[in-house]
Structure formats: C-alpha cells, structure tokens
Symmetry: C2
C-alpha cells in the first residue's frame, strides 16, 4: 500500500510471557510475590466512581509527587511521574537524547534501550561489559550524546558502586546521564544523593518491583528542577494526563507505608540469599545479584533446555536467545514456597 | 548548561483549568456531568489488590479490545487502545506521519495537533475553515503527508457529513487519514462504516466524554488490521503496558452498558437543545453543535470579558486568545441545574 511509505517501521520490544493459566509459577518478569501495601487495598475502597468523569488533575497529581518528594527529601519540582518506568525512560530518551552524537549503553542491558533509540531515531553505541558483566568506566569517558545504564544492571543483577556512578556522571557534565534504578531497593545504593551535585543526572525508579504494583504502571524520575522541567514540557506535548485517578490515589499509599515496603524488600533479599545457596548446590553459577532475580548459568545443561523443561513444569523463568547471555536464565525471586517448587523441579531436570 | 544543547525543546499544550475548589461549575473541559455506568462502580468493588503486583496483560487487555470490537462490529485486530485519545492520536502521528510532505489539518481545530507535529518534527500546513467554520474538501485534495481532523470539529462543534468525510478519505488513498471522533456520540455519524472500504482510514474515539470516564484515561482507534498492526508496533516500542489493571477492568463495564450510555448522550443532547434557545435569547450566536458543548459569541460583549466575569462567579468555560476565535466561548453542556445557574449568571453579566 502506498500509505505504508510514510509509516515509522520498528521492531518492538518483547516483554516476558504472561501465561493465562492458574497454577503457573511466574518467575519471569521480576514482579513482586507480595501484595501491595495494605493502604492500597483501603484506597481502592475509597475510590469514588463519580470522580471518574473528571480529568485526573490537581490536587491528586501533586499529592503523589509530593509524597515521593517527601520520601526522597527532594523538591516536588524534582519529581517526574509516568506510566511505569518505561514511560519515564521513553520520555527521557525523547527529551534528552536529541543530539547527533551517539548515546552510550552497555551491550548487555535492559533490552528496551535500543528499541527506544530506534523508534526515536537516536544514534547509539553499545559498550561491552567485562567478562564479569561489569561496566568499564573508561568506555564512558568519550564524546557522546548521553548515557543510560541500569544499576543494578538488568538482566545480570550486577551492582555498580556509587563512586563509579559518580565518576561516570562527573566525566559527562555536558550530556544527560540516566541511571535506571528499577532494582535499586534490593540491596543497592541509590544515586539520589548525587542529585545535589549534578544537574545532568536523572535517576529513574519504579513501583513495579519493590512496591508490588506492576499492574498499576507507575514510574518516576528524580533530577534537577531544570531536567524535570524539560521532561514535563515534552510529556505535556504528548499527553496532558497520563496517570489516571485510581493510579494517583493508590500510588500515594504505596509510598506512605515505609515499614511494609522495607519488610517486603527484606523478605525478598532473604529468599535471594537462600536461592544463591540452593542454586549453587545444583551446579549453577551467577554474579552476585542486587536485583529481585538471579542470572544463572548451569555447569552442564544449556540454559535453553532448562528454560523449556521448567516451562513444561509450569515454572516460567526468562531466557534470551542473545549473544553472550544465551546460556543464562533470569530467575525472579518468588516466595519461599515457590522457590522450593523451583528447586525440586531443578533436581528433576538437571540434578544427578 | 552544555547538556541543554541536546534537549528537545517544545511549547507544550495547555489543557483547560482544573480548579481545585468545591462549588465550582466546571463547563470548561467537556467532561460529562453524569457518572460512569453503574457497572463501573461495581467493577471497582471487584478489584483484587493482590492482582496489582502483576503486569496488566492478557486476558484483561484482550477483553477490553474484544468488548469494543463487539460493540462496533469489527475485528479485535482492528482495535488499538491507549491512555486517552491523546495517547492514541500522539502514537498515530508518530506512526503514520513519518514522511517528508506536510500533513494537513484545519486552522481552527484541536490545539494539540500542531503540538504533536512539533514534538515529533512532522511538517504541517493548516487549511483555513470557511466563514461558517466548515472544512473545504478541495483544501485536502492536494499532495500531502497525511490528514487529521476532528469530526465534529473542536472547538466549534461543526459536523461534517459522512459523504464529505468519504470524499476526503477516497481522495487520499496514498496517505493515512485520521478522523478524530472524540465528540461523535452527541448526534454525529461516525466514519466507522467506511473502514470496510478504506484501509488508510483511522477513526479515533474516547471514553472521556460520552462515556463519563475522563478520569480513567481511555481512548481507542479503529482501523484496518494493517494500520492497527503498525500502530501497535510503535506502541510496543515505547511502553509495553500502558493501560493498568483497574483501567482494563472498568473500561469493559463502560462499553457493556449501552442503554446507560445512550441515555446519558440523550440527556446531554436535550440540554444542548435547551441551551441553544437560552443562549440565543441572551444575544449569543453559534454554529449548530454536534458536541457536548456550544461555541458561542455574544452580539455585544467581548468573549474574554464574559469568560472572566463568569469565572468570578465560579463558572468556568473555555476561551482562547487566538486569531479568528477570540470572540468565542466554548461552553460545555452540564446538567440542567448547572446550565440554569449559567443562564442566571449571563443575565447578570450581559443581559439587559
């Protein structure tokens, strides 16, 4: 068709499977195994149907930003909120990576980065992680159009120390550096304190993992007021109202309950420690993970085979048919009970 | 700052005010004065907090598309759903208007069109409406990169007949033509039946007006399976999950209750008929409106003055400081009671 000539043609990102059957153990998309904070359930009950007829606006939108600002001890003008951290990152790519020089990110990383670069026509270069999946600082001390990396990295779980993050941000004051902290709450140290020193730093986080709200789609960014203003200008040039009324109401409650949040993260980290032992016992090796997942390779059985056999047992983990990582499985940390089922299945599949 | 050189700089769209006070009569953003369908309230009560920890996915996403497909008698592969029709239109601009030729839209129209064109770097030309705010077919029979117009037009409320819509679509088979039907349910005739004949037609509608769910942010497009596939590819290159779990659940109920929907639209049209009489009595003229609003000009008092005086009386209507329309007010059709308060205020302000 002639009209197809004007179409932006892209190869979209492929998310992890969402099997539509009960009884499945879902360790493939890094969701939390625990429900959201009890206050969220109470907020659902308080929702007023008639309020849905009005556009979501002030004061709700301000309330969620204010809650996050209070939590992280920054100004409300330093908070940007989006429809999941994917929306936030996508907007940030569109806003800040609008130059001619290539942006830089690791070769093994969140597989949405190159998709956003392609859809927005952003030139990019990937930099190879070292043999232990670590980012090499010197790779990012070179002229570029911007930098983005997850910390901890995905899907490896490898954490970069705050000193190295600062080194990269400081060496790139003339571009925007995005630190994607989707998994920071599971033992990592956030770059948020660096915001006071660097107006070119954007830190992105999400409600989807540590706050048990993947189904609500809330992500946010923290940055200098100037960065956030540019981001909001682009956002308001795309869609005035992206977070709906229930999202704004429930989101506040998820931030407010710090004790519950810390308890959930603590439980997941405990289960992760146990998983390290159990997986090691069964012949797996993996980098030390600071995420709610473990990126593991078996000593003798190919990852693809284990992936498929687990699926036959209704246990979903994640596997990528990609160079350098095609012998790894990314296993989300579930409940202790789910993990026991996983270990038993692994005994059947690759034990001996 | 040096990093600002790479920033995409834009002038964002300005939505209507959302006054944060009770007692205000809000006739400025074309929201419905009636609550969403009763089934929506029931669906809120059925929401399961634990479900929020999982990404929104199948079967919910399929269910809403299937409900809409059933309602409009098209295939599920002919439905695209987004975060309000702004999200749908923005995605459609990005997807279909990716050529070098200018896209075309009216000079007086939804004021987001030029904002999207700017943010995505799409060349555009506006075509002047005639003196009665009508689109002239011949303006759109010229080489172009795509066409978009609302029908009924915003903010005028002027309806284009289906034959004229078809004429424009048929004359532009080599580009995509977007008909933005945000206000079609208030007496207009939709272009949906033309989808069988034209694979280059995209019809966009919304839950924000006739379905009383502006606060939920749901919009959708209907088109040929090819168009919808391209649109989804771009959407999945930006954000895998944009509609959250509550949105998908509540959205289905809003579509399902056809009787309630038709009753609400009917009441709004009745109030509109009454408003035409009352406004005419008070010295206003206006084109015949097919939206849930009236675009009115007073015979002697400037629109800006009436706008400001109404606001002092806690009645918000919309006024634009823009060429050709700066002597008009766009007045949303509220409840009969709200409209009575408006008429009384107008008697004070410009009566005599």
């Amino acid at each position: 068709m002639k009209w197809e000539e004007n179409v932006r043609k892209v190869v979209p990102y492929t998310p992890g499977e969402q099997p539509n059957r009960s009884g499945v153990i879902k360790l493939n998309t890094n969701e939390s195994p625990y429900p959201p904070a009890p206050g969220v359930a109470a907020a659902i009950e308080r929702l007023v149907p008639d309020r849905l007829r009005l556009y979501p606006a002030f004061p709700e939108q301000t309330a969620l930003a204010a809650e996050l600002a209070g939590y992280y001890h920054v100004g409300t003008d330093q908070i940007f909120i989006g429809v999941g951290s994917d929306d936030v990152l996508s907007m940030a790519f569109m806003t800040f990576f609008n130059g001619d020089r290539p942006i830089l990110f690791p070769d093994i990383t969140y597989s949405f980065y190159d998709v956003w670069a392609e859809v927005y026509g952003i030139p990019y270069e990937t930099k190879a992680l070292d043999a232990e999946f670590r980012i090499r600082t010197q790779d990012y001390v070179t002229p570029n159009g911007g930098i983005v990396f997850p910390n901890p990295n995905a899907p490896t779980g490898v954490l970069m120390g705050l000193a190295q993050v600062e080194e990269i941000v400081a060496a790139n004051r003339d571009v925007v550096v995005i630190v994607d902290e989707a998994y920071i709450d599971f033992g990592g140290i956030s770059a948020i304190p660096l915001l006071d020193k660097y107006d070119n730093l954007l830190v992105v986080q999400t409600f989807s993992k540590s706050r048990s709200m993947a189904g609500m789609r809330i992500g946010y960014a923290l940055g200098s007021p100037q960065l956030i203003k540019y981001l909001n200008d682009v956002k308001y040039s795309v869609n005035s109202y992206t977070l709906n009324y229930p999202t704004l109401e429930l989101g506040v409650e998820a931030v407010r309950d710090k004790a519950y949040f810390e308890a959930c993260c603590g439980r997941i980290m405990q289960t992760r420690t146990r998983a390290e032992e159990e997986l090691a016992k069964r012949g797996f090796t993996f980098p030390k993970s600071y995420g709610n997942f473990i990126f593991a390779s078996h000593k003798s059985m190919p990852a693809k085979e284990i992936f498929e056999r687990l699926k036959e047992n209704d246990i979903y983990v994640r596997w990528w048919n990609k160079e350098r990582i095609d012998n790894y499985l990314r296993i989300t940390i579930g409940t202790d009970e789910q993990m026991e089922t996983l270990y038993a299945a692994l005994d059947q599949i690759c034990g001996g």
